[in-house]
């Protein structure tokens, strides 16, 4: 795996007060989503206030790491030197809680279809920085 840090790739800010928990979990190989601790509403993208019940206390719910492909694009026109084309950006509806969608990137041009099963893996892109990534699930038999 190439190291985007060395290649000048874009690293996520992992210390933001509302989103750090997501990146802390990714560092440990866990996929999490922000939920309201009181009513269980999904607070994704992660934020503090729950407009469903008016409370401010959230928690990080661990997710199973599977999902369904919502959409994708194969990028052919390069706009950043650290991201050589072609590459495929995938948009995945994550299993476990309704309303959590995440991005992933797959090298090259992928043959994909809507709603196909996807699985998470964790890419180390810099020291202590891990990106949850998604690839098509391998169907046995």
């Amino acid at each position: 795996m190439t190291d985007p840090r060395l290649a000048g790739g874009i690293l996520p800010e992992t210390g933001d007060i509302d989103t750090a928990g997501f990146w802390d979990a990714a560092r440990e190989g866990r996929l999490v989503a922000r939920m309201c601790a009181t009513c269980g509403a999904v607070l994704h993208l992660p934020r503090a206030y729950c407009s469903e019940c008016g409370r401010w206390e959230g928690r990080w719910e661990e997710l199973p790491g599977s999902g369904r492909l919502h959409s994708w694009t194969v990028v052919h026109h390069q706009v950043h030197p650290a991201y050589p084309v072609p590459y495929t950006i995938v948009l995945v509806d994550v299993d476990g809680v309704e309303g959590v969608r995440l991005l992933g990137r797959i090298d090259g041009e992928c043959d994909l279809r809507a709603d196909q099963p996807m699985h998470v893996w964790f890419e180390e892109v810099a020291e202590d920085v891990f990106l949850p990534q998604w690839r098509p699930s391998v169907v046995e038999g």
Binding site: P4, G8, G9, I10, L11, P12, E13, T14, G15, D16, D18, T19, W23, H44, L45, R47, H70, S71, W72, T73, V74, V75, H76, H77, V79, H80, A82, Y83, Y87, I89, L91, G99, R101, L102, L103, G104, R105, R113, A114, D115, V125, L131
Partner: protein, 382 residues
């Protein structure tokens, strides 16, 4: 709408953005039969580099009783008209000037990632969930939206193609359009290089150096104008519920990717106008990308959700169809002045002076409804 003005649209203006803005504003003020001293209100787009005070000084305005700023970006133009209407009706200003100026090709380009090697995101931008994956441009965002529409509704590239093809034909009739001299065929569209699938080269807007400006006044004033009066029937702004935060990328986390803020904006607009889609004679749809037009045609009620592709391919959007669109060529073929050239073309249609005039047209829809929120207006020939 008593005055309209533009500069030429080019790839390299050779002029500063302030010069472009000043030229378009002087043209609009002159078109209204006014002088700069008659203008007492200014509305700018948040992404413009020209500020209110720049123009007050550059134009030689005598006073500035009302100034306002609307954004983000392409969401602004119709809402800028709304600001002018509000200022005039509330007595804060008499004659309000709106402008948008940019060196969008020779200066800062929207399709180029400005991200360096540092960490991105945080502080409420949520860009940390997008940029590290190589999602870097609005075109890639709308490509993901287009692919979802194609997967869900079976929309085909050959249908989507009709939007850029129609825009190109209108530009071929418009001497001011950047693509005036360049025809486009379906074969050329389909064989053009893929930028971010399923979007090809001609699904993308142009990059333009240029400026547009308009003068809004009280309806009574329009009677003194040297032009046929053009009235603002209604203007509206809107947002979907749960639109997601941030500037552009988090919109991909919305539950339904294929519905734009055009839908709630349309509901408000039609209610205020006392009209429906069947009352619209001609439309100028915000077209950063072809797919943006297709979704808006659905959201503004010209066809059902999912049927935008077949509607586009039906001939309805061509000159002579039930809803001719983007009669100046739009962003796809006239020039990219961030939705302001759509308002200008709307006024031309209502004056009867478009280079692709829709015969007998008395209502024109103008949209500024990409994402995250949106705005739109309906013009009426007075």
């Amino acid at each position: 709408m008593v005055g309209i003005g533009t500069t030429d649209f080019s790839r390299d203006s050779g002029r500063s953005v302030l010069t472009l803005a000043t030229q378009a504003c002087l043209a609009a003020i002159g078109d209204a039969g006014m002088v700069p001293g008659d203008i007492d209100g200014l509305v700018r787009c948040d992404l413009d580099t020209v500020r209110h005070n720049d123009l007050v000084h550059s134009l030689g305005m005598k006073r500035l009783d009302f100034f306002s700023e609307v954004g983000p970006g392409g969401v602004a133009p119709s809402a800028m008209v709304g600001q002018a209407v509000a200022a005039i009706l509330s007595g804060q200003a008499t004659n309000v000037l709106l402008f948008r100026a940019l060196n969008g090709r020779s200066g800062r380009r929207f399709g180029i990632s400005s991200v360096g090697g540092e960490r991105i995101g945080g502080s409420g931008t949520y860009d940390e969930f997008f940029g590290p994956y190589g999602l870097l441009t609005p075109g890639q965002v709308f490509a993901l939206i287009a692919q979802r529409h194609m997967s869900r509704y079976g929309t085909r590239p050959e249908e989507l193609a009709h939007i850029p093809l129609v825009c190109r034909r209108r530009a071929n009739a418009n001497p001011q359009a950047q693509m005036h001299d360049r025809t486009l065929t379906l074969d050329e569209y389909l064989s053009a290089r893929m930028i971010s699938s399923p979007l090809r080269l001609f699904d993308f807007c142009l990059e333009t150096d240029g400026a547009c400006a308009l003068v809004v006044s009280r309806a009574e004033r329009a009677k003194d104008s040297p032009h046929p009066p053009v009235l603002i029937r209604a203007v509206a702004q809107g947002s979907l519920p749960a639109p997601q935060p941030g500037m552009q990328f988090p919109v991909l986390m919305r539950q339904d990717l294929t519905t734009l803020p055009a839908r709630p904006t349309a509901e408000t607009l039609y209610r205020r106008a006392g009209m429906g889609p069947e009352d619209i004679d001609v439309a100028q749809f915000y077209d950063c990308f072809s797919i943006t037009v297709l979704l808006q045609m659905e959201d503004f009620g010209f066809c059902a959700k999912g049927e935008g592709g077949s509607f586009a391919a039906s001939g309805a959007i061509d000159l002579g169809g039930s809803l001719p669109i983007n009669t100046g060529g739009g962003h796809l073929s006239e020039g990219y002045v961030h939705g302001m050239n759509h308002v200008i073309e709307g006024v031309r249609q209502m004056r009867g002076t478009s280079t692709s005039q829709v015969v007998g047209a008395s209502t024109c829809l103008v949209t500024s409804t990409p994402l995250p929120p949106g705005s739109a207006l309906i013009l009426r020939a007075g």
